[in-house]
Amino acid sequence: MHPEHAHTAAEAVVLATSLLRWIPLLPLIGFGIGVFAASTNRRSIVHITGPGSVLLAFVVSVIAVSRLWTLPAGGAVVDNVFTWISVGMLHLDMTFRVDALTSVMILIITGIGFLIHLYSLGYMHEDADEARFFSYLNLFVASMLVLVLADSLPVVFIGWEGVGVCSYLLIGFWYQDMANADAGRKAMITNRIGDAAFLIGMFILVWAMHDLGAASLRFEDLNRMAPQLGAAAPHLVTAVCLLLLIGATGKSAQIPLYVWLPDAMAGPTPVSALIHAATMVTAGVYMIARLSPLYVLSPAALDVVATIGAVTALFAATMALVQNDLKKILAYSTISQIGYMVLGVGVGSFSGGVFHLMTHACFKALLFLGAGSVMHAMSGELDIHKMGNLKAKLPTTRWTFLVGCLAIAGVPPLAAFFSKDMILEAAFASGHVVLWFIGLTAAGMTAFYMFRAYFLAFEGESRVDHHTEHHLHESPPPMTIPLMVLAVLSIVAGWVGLPHGILWGDAWGHYLAPVLASHEAHEIAGSTVLLLTLVTTGVALGGIFLAYSFYLKSPGTADRIAERFHGIYVLLWNKYWIDELYDRLFITPYVIVSKFFWKVVDAMLIDGVVNGVGVAVGKTSDVWRRLESGNVQHYAAAMLIGAVVTCGVYWWLA
């Protein structure tokens, strides 16, 4: 029986509309126009179609979400576009679906996506490949929208691979520089490892579902069947969850597959903001939240998720402490913040993870765009030791960047204060005190390294060389307007999820509750919550104060400490030699094996056989072709000989 008919009467209200297909289609059309513009070198078209298509998608998204809000809680807007695969028991539709979780994602993607497109108008203005840039960016938005609008895992995978390709294309956007192209390849290959695990997990899942009589990968069916699945094959569920987690670690840059993200900063800064901070890298968190009914069935897998998240949060934060490249700091910060989200979903606070995803999208996009603005002003210089006192020349950038730093540090009442708090609180409440402590430490480090960057870049003495200083200028309005909008968002975004009992309370959690699995909530006393909040805030303020005293009040303290703990400094500076370790452990053996297969198996064995056959046939033919003399009489003679022999044999036999 078709799974769709298996709905019970208690199923949520569903509104069917053909509106949703336009959400990914519009940026896709923008991509098509962009490709045309790039190949015919008509750059001015993309100035309109690039941001315009995303703006239209945003408008359609808003309409779709407002339709969703007219439905009772737990409702969904769906758009069945076409049947993709129908084979045997497996029936797969290309269906888009907006529910509470998706509504959050599409508004982030199209909203922040539009702001970043707008910013790119200013940022990429002088680049000759502007049209190519905008077409890639549009394609990315379309893929990301497919990813979050999908109502089944395979359709998610289309978007998943699509954003991977766009990430690759955009990291290596300035491919003339070999290092950029290498960074793109690194991202691609690292993601392939995760994607392979994702695929295998998906295969196991459809197999297990088939055994239960409903070979479907639709989220609706998965979530409905999850309890049966957990009862029938608990180990299988754990295996699927872990495999999908590996997929998520690849896309979301978590340990052990995080190595590509710092290198991904080779791409243009708007790309880093959109893809490698706000949207794509959070796909893993989205996916886990989406499959939360499955994940809650496997506490073991959830513990792994939480541990990976917490360790990544701390690990990446330590590396961010010593980086000098502004974008690299932000890259490690992104890894660390996604670690928080993963920690959040890992301890069962799925709404907390998605909450942090949303706030992070706002303030990290803001920080990246701010860094891009600085880079724009400094003619590409990103070393924070060569900046200083930029606040004089770049007031807008400075204020918005400061808001971003305060927001990420978790200063009340800015965005991350609420979202990070929610995650840490959930970690503490669910009994993961160690993970809570790790998270808390990372929170302190976050405040420290962000303000280290802020103080070194915008405050204090100017260390800018004269030539650059001469050119210092505030960015044009297309770049500053998105900064200001994002700054406002970074302040207010957290207000939708206040702690329990204050004003409207946790409206966020209530909104998402119908689509996320409810983990048994550990109620903790209000006084404990208050205490936890105070501790977190205190740690954040402490981090800011440390950064202030190290870098602004008495410059040089940082160097003395680095001298004192030279070993740790070197370890951090070299990023724990993880790249080198991977190089020795995986890449070198792989290259050796590949060389063997290339030089010996392919070049000698296979080519030898193939060429040998060719040469043998050629030589033989060279002999036999002499028979074809072209002379009719020779052929006639051959016929005669044949006749004689045939008659002779006949006679001899008769």
Binding site: H634, A636, A637, L640, A643, C647, W651
Partner: protein, 163 residues
Amino acid sequence: MIAFYFIALLTLASALLVVLHRNPIYSALGLVNTLFLIAVSFVMLDAELIAMLQVIVYAGAIVILFLFVIMLLNVESEVRSARISKIGTAGLAFVLLFAVELAVFALVRDPSGAQELPAGFGSTELLAETLFSKGMLSFELTSLLLLVAVVGAVVMARRKVES
């Protein structure tokens, strides 16, 4: 019997003339002679209509066509090469072998038949009756073949030299 041997010898002699003479015109004349003599054999074999057709179609049409082409192109006598090629020699050996084989076939056959011929055997009437009953389809197809041959010949012969 003697008449047969006489005719047979003349036939073979003219056939050899066709193959051996260097001048194509003599060859053509030898061919016409051979065809006449075979027509005589046909008469001796009670196939009067076939003999008639042999004279009309072969001698009257085909050989004239040969002669016409020879005259048209002004073909010269063949320059005989000093020695026959290896393939030619081998071919001749096989030709000899083939002739022996065929002759042996003919001779070792069990001689059966030799019945009395019915009246009118080989007559136009009887041949026509066979042709339009048993050979109807073949007959019609033959007309088609001739049409194709006519068109093909015209196309081939009228082809312009492309240079």
